[in-house]
Every structure is written in C-alpha cells, then in structure tokens.
Symmetry: C2
Subunit: 141 residues, 2 copies
C-alpha cells in the first residue's frame, strides 16, 4: 500500500457527559486530558486524553439528534471508532477505494485529528474506521 497506517491515532469512546467520564478515564486510568473541543457540525464535545503516542477521544453528544446522540441512545456508552494515523490520508483513502472498501467520506476533510476520512463499518467487520493525517502543528501526535 502506498500510504501505510503508522499507528493507532486514537480510539473514540461515546460518553454521556465528559466531566463524569473524567472520573474514570483521567482520575482512575491516570490519562491526562490535553485538549477539549466542541465540534458543532458533528454535534459533539470531545476530550482528548494521551496514552503513549495515541489518544482516547471521549465524545459527548451536544444533542440527542446528532449521530453520537443516536449512538448513545441505541447502544449506550462504549467504544465507537478506531482511528489510524497516516502521512497521506488521500493516498490511504484512494487505496481503500481501489480495494472496493465502502466509504463514508469520498474525500478527506478537516476534523479534530487533522485531515480525516471514515470508512464504512459494513466493509470493516462492524468497526467504524477513521484515517487521520495530523495537521503539521500536531505532527507529534
């Protein structure tokens, strides 16, 4: 593959409330919160916690009608998606397309983790997969 996946960038976890979730993810597991951001167009408030050179991305829905809100209502809190880092998200996406992987995003778009795209879980054995090419200022992540 022309654009290898170099590491697990983050694991996305849906939670009901970020502040409650810190009681476990930060205070029990000891993982530091290094960023909190609201992503209005995705209807989430997200907290990024560091572990090694990966992150845990806690996702709290802003509204029950958002994608994350619907996930929470249907499945409850829990594992949501798995994101791989790559130095060439467009190339990785093209490679997936060439292998007939069903895509959610036809083109990379800006996201919290950099330039990102999602593959469809129907092609990934039930797992929602994200590819991320970190922005240069976050290239250490």
């Amino acid at each position: 593959m022309s654009a290898p996946l170099t590491r697990i960038h983050h694991v996305g976890v849906v939670v009901r409330n970020l502040e409650q979730a810190y009681g476990f993810w930060r205070d029990c597991l000891g993982l530091p919160v290094h960023k909190v951001a609201t992503v209005e167009d995705q209807g989430v408030r997200a907290a990024l916690l560091t572990v090694g050179d990966s992150e845990i991305e806690l996702l709290e829905p802003l509204a029950p009608t958002s994608g994350i809100g619907k996930f929470l209502a249907k499945r409850g809190e829990g594992l949501h998606h798995l994101c791989y880092a790559t130095a060439d998200v467009a190339g990785a996406l093209a490679a997936a397309r060439a292998k007939n992987v069903r895509l959610i995003d036809e083109q990379p778009r800006p996201g919290l983790a950099g330039m990102i795209c999602f593959l469809h879980p129907a092609s990934a054995h039930g797992v929602l997969i994200e590819y991320a090419q970190p922005f240069p200022e976050d290239a250490h992540r």
Copy 2:
C-alpha cells in the same frame, strides 16, 4: 499512579471468521499478521496484527457458547475491548481497586498479551478494559 499505562497495547475486535477478516484487516489496511493462537480456555482463536507499537487482536469464537460467541450473537462483529500496556500489572490493578473500580479479575493471570487482567465495563463507561504486562520475550510489543 504508581503504575502508569504507557500505551495502547491492542484493540480487540470480534470477527466471525479470521480468514475472512484478513481480507479487510490485513489486505485492505495493510497490517501484517504476526501471530495466530488458539486460547482454549477462553474459547477463541486470535490473530494479532501490528500497527506501530500497538496491535489489532482479531477474535474468532471457537463455539457460540463462549463469551466471544455470545458477544457475536448479541452485538455482531465489532469493537470488543481496549488493552493498555503497563510495566506493573499488579500495581495497576491494585490502583484500580483502590479507586473502587469494579474488577473482572481479582489477580493478574497469564493471557495472550502477557500477564493480564480485565476491569468491568460497568466502571468504565461501557468499555471492557484490559491491562497487560507483556512477557519478557515479547517486551518489544
């Protein structure tokens, strides 16, 4: 915390059939399979794929009555658990107990990833969490 979690050791994914799953996880994502093992007492056949200094652990149930078999019947293929590496699994487990985290294993036990233990998802916002202290011969993992 006396025993920090140093990285994501692996992400566990339940699949119906390992060989079918390779078509996506190995051939589309380009992740090499470095080990395949049958764990009779857990009723699974597992394949470990490398990405950076983490792994994807594909889990195929040996029987529908195993824990993984029941998960597959109830929830289908998908994300199953999240494992953190630590240099001191007994210390990490003791720290979780001291914070009143509900445990599945009261003591570390040998597993595929080394000496391991599981925390209960009821204390972890719906996520099944594993701690692993790799065996010395696998310490690069």
